[in-house]
Amino acid sequence: MSRRRILFCAGTGCISSGAFKARDILVSELDRHGISDDFDIIASGCHGFCEQGPIFIIHPENIFYCAVQPEDIKELVEEYLVNGNVVERLLYKDISTGERVKDHMKIGFYAKQKRLVLRNCGLIDPENIQEYIDQQGYEGFKKALEIDNSEIIEEVKKSGLRGRGGAGFPTGLKWEFTYKAEGEKKYIVCNADEGDPGAFMDRSILEGDPHNVIEGMLIAGFALNANEGYVYVRAEYPLAVKRLRKAIEQARERGFLGNNIFDKGFSFDIKIKEGAGAFVCGEETALLASIEGKRGMPRPRPPFPANEGLWGKPTCLNNVETFANIPLIIREGFEAFASIGTEGSKGTKVFALTGKINNTGLAEVPNGILMREVIFDIGGGIKGDREFKAVQIGGPSGGCLPAEHLDLPIDYDSLTQAGAMMGSGGLVVMDEDTCMVDLARYFLTFTQNESCGKCTPCREGTMRMLEILNRIVQGKGKEEDLEKLEYLGRNTKDTSLCGLGQTSPNPILSTLRYFRHEYIAHIREKRCPAGLCPDLITYSIHQENCKRCNVCAKACPADAISGKPKEEHHIDVDLCTKCNNCFEVCKFNAIIKE
């Protein structure tokens, strides 16, 4: 009898939810029952369903156990692995029907996904190259070795693949420019400096299937006559760095990387450069400067990196997810890829679903899917039965879209038209408790902080806009501030040197477009409709609803609530720090925020 496989998710999410502790107990429990030899326990990459971690999947029957705590393992082993009785309570419970689901592909979160880039994530051990090879790994590269450079580039062009890092530039064209650029020495660079707050797809790809990225870079190297590659990865991602390093070593041992690969006269090797923490390094020229050991500041283009990149040599720079698409395109041919998605946006896109949503995690969907399907079918809707208010897509460079855009198809062009952008694929869902002015201010605080200061429009523009937003949330805004914001926003957009500055006003401009009434409420009525901006709200007790239970008074860190149990409660506004604790602990809607 062949050994059964127990795959447990060892992505950052599940590890922090206790996956390794559970694994250790699993090992000793199997041993205690004397059945250790019947099972292979495999640490896999991220399944994407971080909300339900730690996740354990058992093959060949493909049963999906989720939220498995260390203390659940004993029962899981005795009941299921020894006696064969399914442990119902550890199966996924469908939110709408309340039913338990055994096969994870029948869970709403997975059913509407199309997992191509993430096809191996969660299924293989990312630290074992053989597992990747068993899934037809490196077949795309082997196929590429047999065809002409220009044919490979043509294949990528015809696939319609566009850059997954944000801007959506056609990948095949980028390759062609680098291929045609003059120069003996050329470089391939993978941008893994995932700095967008709210995005973690690159991290999960590197943690879950690093060889897929290496193979994509190898194919690019072969097609463009480059023999050196760099992966620029955030130092904040220690696990991704570790797995990538191991994968590169194993690829070298197997002869996929090194000199004269498979006697084809092609040599290629990959180095890892750890980023040192600067959001602007996601911009390509800033990233290259940083690899060269300099301050990561962008420079004007042209010359583009395709002609003058790293150390002044032609350089092809793509994002992690872009490279991860390449092996499948070459292996299966461009037609299969191009048959998915819309006219202008082919293939799939990985999104990070976060915020006030039931199913947080990573989801890969075909381009053109409706926003509604992603948020409600895959994401399981809004947490705690609240109302959907807006979704922020594309991180600090993107925009906020309101409920009337829920039926918008998600692709590069529709999103740009609506005032947002694909960006790297962060989707932060917000409910009625989120203040849109505060959100715009949050993003501006981030971009202002990360502005490198080289060009004036970005350095000064972000600062002036932030000052205005700070005034508005404090109730000191003036009527003319909104026009000023739009004027500054347009100018910063048009005149900044790089993508950081050019996109920084998007959160303001899109919230002004769709949620102007919230700005006006802050300015004219000195009121925050979401009840969030501390300077614009006061707390009081609703005496009819109040059960005099005294819970709020105990939760108050400032002793601002007077009254003993069974007595009338009052909030002293002079002592109140507006921490919102009382509002959160009250079960009777007896705290009024206005």
């Binding site: 590890i15 707050p197 750890e274 040192a276 932060v428 993003f443």
Partner: protein
């Protein structure tokens, strides 16, 4: 160790050892600074001066790089570095309250280090564990689905560890 006063000779030796890891000296400035920081926990002035000399790069340029990137620190940091995430997902799910609680428990401002050099408190823009928001990292460990009430216990575990 982070707190020891180092002799110049040992600094030179350390820097030389670090530079020996690199076959060429082109473009290694950031990597070398990262190595130095791994060694000392921060970038001591003396080590940066030695590095500048060895690499034949003006000290001002080395300083320029060291202060550009948020990863580098010019003063000593605590044994445990706590990084609270204030990314979008954490912001929406109350990351600021986690930070407030940490400030209260540790009696520290953001960027500060406790007097016993045990903890440094920082905030970061995103650590990419948005699915578990709000989150924080202590050294290389990630803690998710936090509430302010969970903070004292998490810190307490690090208290025990060092005894």
């Amino acid at each position: 160790m982070a707190n020891e006063k180092l002799e110049s000779t040992s600094t030179i030796e350390t820097i030389e050892n670090i530079l020996d890891r690199y076959p060429t000296k082109d473009g290694i400035l950031i990597s070398a600074l990262q190595d130095i920081q791994n060694e000392y926990g921060y970038l001591p002035r003396e080590s940066v001066e030695t590095l500048a000399k060895k690499l034949k790069i003006p000290l001002s340029s080395v300083y320029g790089v060291a202060t550009f990137f948020s990863q580098f620190h010019l003063s000593p940091r605590g044994e445990n570095v706590i990084r609270t995430c204030l990314g979008t997902a954490c912001h929406v799910r109350g990351g600021a309250k986690i930070l407030e609680k940490l400030q209260e428990v540790l009696n520290l401002d953001v960027g500060g280090t406790t007097e016993d050099m045990k903890y440094t408190l920082e905030s970061v823009a995103c650590i990419g564990a948005c699915g578990l928001a709000p989150v924080l990292m202590i050294n290389n460990d990630t803690f998710g689905r936090l509430t302010p009430e969970k903070i004292p216990e998490i810190i307490n575990n690090y208290e025990k560890d060092s005894k």
